[in-house]
């Protein structure tokens, strides 16, 4: 059976930078505390008029331009998001239209911080099944619309942004570039990260989530095994940028050296489903991605939901 592969990445961050010192003016916290506990130095926040769809469109346009494909080549657009204020129309349909992609299959998908890995798997399966030729997959979030800026346990963590990838079929005879996804959920722990009420804010059991997330290394090992790749062969590890301490703990348990591990959270904050493609786009810009080699992507968060897959870097 034919496989799917990633052709290119693109990322978008809003202009406004919010530093730890800025937050310390509002809540009882400090630059030193935030750096040591979550590893964030600054984050980006979208403007009041800037929507999830605006950011999705910007990131999608960059990925499309980098892929060498034209809008006419794309017939499927999937956006992973958990932070839109308005449930309809879908971000995917509107962003596709703005990008000049005519009449694609388009839908949004919510697996919170695991969303991009879920969407990438869904899109790859569509390409492999022959339902789609080329697809655009986007993670886009305006998490700050769901923040209580007086809750110091969440307002220091979450941020806004978008990232995207273009996925295509691999020619006959070439190996697949997107490995089998290993995914799952634990809805019985759904109250660990949640929004209650339409005008509510994100609340999180930080310690409980930390314990759960730092114990997810078997998921990463399963994804490697399904792809036939040893962890030592990975040239890049891009886990969801939830908290640098979680990223470092997972990397240590997997034995992956730090220079191969995404640390985009330091200047991007936790952008939920956008964090994995945003980190990939930045690593690509910095020349940190080695074309043709395996990288491990991993998402985890509210649901609780989780997913991981090995991809061949474009």
């Amino acid at each position: 059976m034919a496989g799917a592969k990633i052709l290119a990445f693109g990322g978008y961050q809003p202009d406004q930078v919010v530093t730890n010192d800025d937050l310390a003016l509002r809540v009882d916290t400090s630059d030193e505390w935030i750096r040591s506990r979550v590893g964030i130095e600054s984050r980006r926040v979208a403007g009041p008029e800037e929507s999830v769809t605006d950011m999705a469109t910007a990131a999608g346009g960059k990925a499309l331009a980098a892929s060498g494909l034209s809008p006419a080549d794309i017939d499927l657009v999937v956006v992973a998001t958990c932070s839109t204020i308005l449930p309809m129309p879908s971000v995917a349909a509107v962003a596709a239209s703005r990008l000049g992609i005519a009449a694609p299959g388009a839908y949004d998908l919510n697996a919170a911080c695991a969303g991009f890995c879920y969407a990438l798997a869904a899109v790859a399966d569509s390409v492999v099944a022959g339902s789609s030729r080329n697809a655009l997959v986007i993670g886009a979030e305006k998490m700050t619309d769901w923040l209580d800026w007086d809750d110091r346990s969440t307002c220091i963590i979450f941020a806004d942004g978008a990232g995207a990838a273009v996925v295509a079929a691999v020619p006959d005879g070439e190996p697949a570039g997107i490995g089998p996804v290993v995914w799952g959920s634990a809805g019985e722990q759904g109250n660990k990260i949640q929004v209650t009420g339409r005008t509510g804010a994100i609340t999180q059991d930080g310690q409980g989530v930390f314990r759960w997330a730092t114990s997810l290394h078997p998921l990463a090992l399963q994804a490697c095994e399904r792809a036939g790749v040893k962890p030592s062969e990975l040239t890049a590890f891009i886990p969801h940028q939830a908290n640098l301490r979680i990223v470092e703990a997972l990397a240590r348990k997997l034995g992956i050296p730090r220079e191969r591990v995404a640390d985009d959270i330091v200047h991007a904050g936790n952008t939920s489903s956008a964090s994995v493609p945003l980190a990939l786009a930045r690593m690509a810009e910095q020349g940190r991605l080695e074309s043709g080699t395996p990288a491990l992507l991993m998402g985890f968060g509210a649901g609780l939901s989780y997913a991981a897959q090995v991809v061949t870097l474009p």
Binding site: S36, R37, Q207, G208, F210, R211, T214, S215, R245, A249
Partner: protein, 79 residues
């Protein structure tokens, strides 16, 4: 498992997770005040201790385990 075995196993965990040399992990030491280990590292240590000793240390219990001896006692009771 003897308390001495639990102590040496715990010291290995603390060295791996927090970078504190194992021989400094002695019974009377306080994790926070003497070993400079914060609450998130304590969670990691609890998870590693569970893997190693088969005794679960829940989050709500963790805040009461202030010294190395406290953890050794807790694990010792559960083994």
């Amino acid at each position: 498992m003897t308390d001495q075995e639990i102590l040496s196993g715990l010291a290995e965990i603390v060295e791996e997770i927090a970078g504190v040399p194992a021989d400094e992990v002695t019974p009377e030491k306080s994790f926070v005040d003497d070993l400079d280990i914060d609450s998130l590292s304590m969670v990691e240590i609890a998870v590693a201790a569970q893997d190693k000793f088969g005794v679960e240390i829940p989050d709500e219990q963790l805040k009461d385990l202030k010294t190395v001896q406290d953890v050794v006692n807790f694990v010792s009771k559960g083994v």
